[in-house]
Structures are given as structure tokens and as C-alpha cells.
């Protein structure tokens, strides 16, 4: 009888140990799966996100009087040579000049002032108020980039990079 009781106790004890082992096993399985998932997300998203670190902006200068092609090229080449500027285009017939640049390196007001030093052009920085934008049909307040997922993506991207 005593022997039987002892065996019963032993079996219960063994069961507990087995359960603990299984738990540890499952937990490590979960942990490893998670680590692999994070590594996987990192490796598949990297290619698409690294270019986003450098925020770029576009600016436009409108010329009221006609600028000929020699003058336009002078302005274009000058702005293109400025630090952080990665693209320029002068639409000569319409007198519209656009350029894109890295925001941490250039500022449209500074560029405009520099352009004005090249020649005293009758020109202005093209801007559009939020109200005008709305009148044109779009609503800047509804920009998708302000959604929770966009913020989360930006945060995770920053973290991973």
C-alpha cells in the first residue's frame, strides 16, 4: 500500500516536471519565433525605407518678366551647385523655376535671396495658403501621412536604421 502511494506521488512529481519542461520549450519556441520575425521584418523593409531618412522638399520661384535661356541656365546652374540641392528645372516659356533639396541642408528663403543677388529679378517664392489649397480642391489636414500607422512606420524605420 505504502509502495503504491509512493509511486503515485512520484508520478505526480514527474508530471509537474514534464509540464515545466514543455512550458520552457514552448516559451523558447515563441521567443525564437519572435526574434526571427523581427529580423525578418528588418531585412524585408530596409530596402524600401533607407531612402526616407533624408527628408526632401520642393520649392518654386515664379518670374514675372521673361527670363531668356542664358539667364535661366545661369540661375539653374547656380542653384544646382548649392549644397543639398539635388534637382532643378526651369520652365522658360512660363517663367517657373523649381528645385528640390534636402531640408537639413537648404532653405527656400535663403536660396531665393541668393538668386536675387544674381540679378534683381521681378520674382517671388511660390506659396499657397492652406485656404487656397482647400479652394483648389485638396484638404491638407487630411494628409494620410498623419495617420497612426504612418507615425508608427516612421518610428520603427528610425529605430531600425
Amino acid at each position: 500500500m505504502d509502495n503504491y502511494k509512493f509511486t503515485l506521488l512520484y508520478v505526480t512529481f514527474m508530471k509537474k516536471r514534464t509540464i515545466i519542461k514543455i512550458c520552457i520549450g514552448l516559451f523558447s519556441l515563441l521567443l525564437i519565433s519572435f526574434v526571427v520575425l523581427v529580423m525578418h521584418i528588418n531585412s524585408v523593409t530596409k530596402k524600401n525605407t533607407t531612402e526616407n531618412i533624408n527628408q526632401r522638399q520642393l520649392s518654386r520661384i515664379d518670374f514675372k518678366v521673361h527670363v531668356d535661356s542664358t539667364e535661366a541656365n545661369k540661375i539653374k546652374n547656380y542653384v544646382a551647385s548649392l549644397d543639398g540641392v539635388d534637382g532643378t528645372h526651369f520652365n522658360i516659356p512660363e517663367g517657373i523655376f523649381t528645385y528640390s533639396y534636402k531640408m537639413n541642408k537648404q532653405n527656400s528663403k535663403v536660396v531665393f535671396e541668393k538668386v536675387m543677388q544674381l540679378g534683381n529679378y521681378d520674382a517671388h517664392i511660390f506659396t499657397i495658403s492652406a485656404a487656397d489649397a482647400q479652394a483648389m480642391g485638396g484638404c491638407p489636414m487630411k494628409i494620410n501621412d498623419h495617420s497612426f500607422s504612418a507615425y508608427l512606420t516612421a518610428y520603427v524605420t528610425k529605430f531600425l536604421n
Partner: protein
């Protein structure tokens, strides 16, 4: 000791399971059904998957094909932004340009999404387009960044501006007519979805 071996075993099984399941999804059935392509894809023709240094991001590498397409997209965005006829479609993008622009990511996002789109459209398997569908993107009711419905004349002007963007990167009808024609033909496959003012 026994416990350690058991744990090690569990870890090994877990690792094998996760890694092998990952692999299967990535290049299992798809890889088997790919038929050999007689002609190189447009993506290959503009540079393909060969890695090269990224001039815009020091210390980073980029596929040559993507670099070409990104340069064309960025040049074209400048041309389109300087196009008085098309300005009315871009109220939000233009509202973000100011004397002291706020840290908005509109241009960065547009450049990235347009480049992703062109990579996928030309046949890249590396990149993924995660933006809206062409119908949704160009429907002012569903995309607040789109000022109004586009008409067919403005679509032609837009494609012409991309042609100017291509020329800014050294590709013209005079020196590579086939490539220009094929890219323009590719752009025109989206006309049905984009031109919504019919």
C-alpha cells in the same frame, strides 16, 4: 544536463521550423513556375539589380535600375511642378512648399511611392509598391492630395513632362528611341485608371 539537451532540441526545432516556413513562402511555388524570359525586362534595361553606390545617401548601396528610375522620377517631379498647366492637380504638395517649409514628408513620400511603382511596373522583384491603386490615387474623392479629376490632355502633358525628366537623365528619343517608346507605352497602360474626367 538532460534538461539542457531538451531545451537545445526545442530551440533547434523552433529555429528550423521558422526559417524553413519563411523560405517556402519566399521562393517556393513562385520560383518553380517562372518561365525563362526571352527578353530582358525594362527594369533590367535601365540597370537591373546590380548594386552601386547611392549618390544621394552616402555609404549606402542601391540597385542600378532603381537609381535610374528614382533619378527620372525626381527630375520629372521638378518638371511637373514647374508646369503651370498641371499645378491645379497638386494643391497639397504645393501647400507644403513655403518660405519656411514645415517638416512635411509629402515630396519624400511621393518620390518613394512613384519610384516603387515604376520599379514594380518595369519588372523589379526587389521592391514593393505600397501606395494606393492608380484609380484611388487619382480620384480626388478618395485621395485628398489630388486636386481634381485629370483629363486626357493633361495626361498627355504629364507623360510629356516625364519625357523631359528622362532627357534630363540623358535618355532621349534621338539616342534611345526604343527605351523611350517602351517606357511611354508602359505609362499609357495607366491612362484608363488615371484619366477620370472623360
Amino acid at each position: 544536463m538532460k534538461k539542457n539537451i531538451f531545451l537545445l532540441g526545442a530551440c533547434f526545432v523552433a529555429m528550423t521550423l521558422t526559417i524553413s516556413s519563411c523560405k517556402k513562402k519566399d521562393d517556393g511555388p513562385a520560383a518553380m513556375t517562372v518561365t525563362p524570359q526571352p527578353k530582358p525586362t525594362l527594369y533590367e534595361r535601365v540597370g537591373g539589380t546590380t548594386m552601386t553606390a547611392d549618390p544621394n545617401n552616402t555609404g549606402q548601396m542601391i540597385e542600378k535600375g532603381r537609381l535610374t528610375l528614382r533619378s527620372v522620377v525626381d527630375s520629372s517631379i521638378n518638371v511637373i511642378a514647374a508646369d503651370g498647366q498641371l499645378a491645379k492637380y497638386f494643391p497639397v504638395l504645393f501647400a507644403e512648399l513655403g518660405e519656411n517649409p514645415k517638416n512635411t514628408s509629402g515630396l519624400t513620400a511621393l518620390s518613394k511611392n512613384f519610384t516603387d511603382f515604376m520599379c514594380v511596373a518595369t519588372g523589379s522583384k526587389t521592391y514593393l509598391y505600397t501606395g494606393l491603386s492608380m484609380t484611388e490615387t487619382h480620384d480626388p474623392a478618395r485621395n485628398s492630395r489630388m486636386g481634381m479629376k485629370a483629363n486626357s490632355a493633361d495626361f498627355d502633358k504629364f507623360v510629356g513632362d516625364i519625357g523631359t525628366g528622362l532627357a534630363k537623365n540623358g535618355v532621349t528619343a534621338a539616342n534611345n528611341k526604343q527605351l523611350v517608346d517602351d517606357l511611354v507605352a508602359l505609362l499609357y497602360t495607366t491612362e484608363e485608371a488615371i484619366v477620370q474626367d472623360k
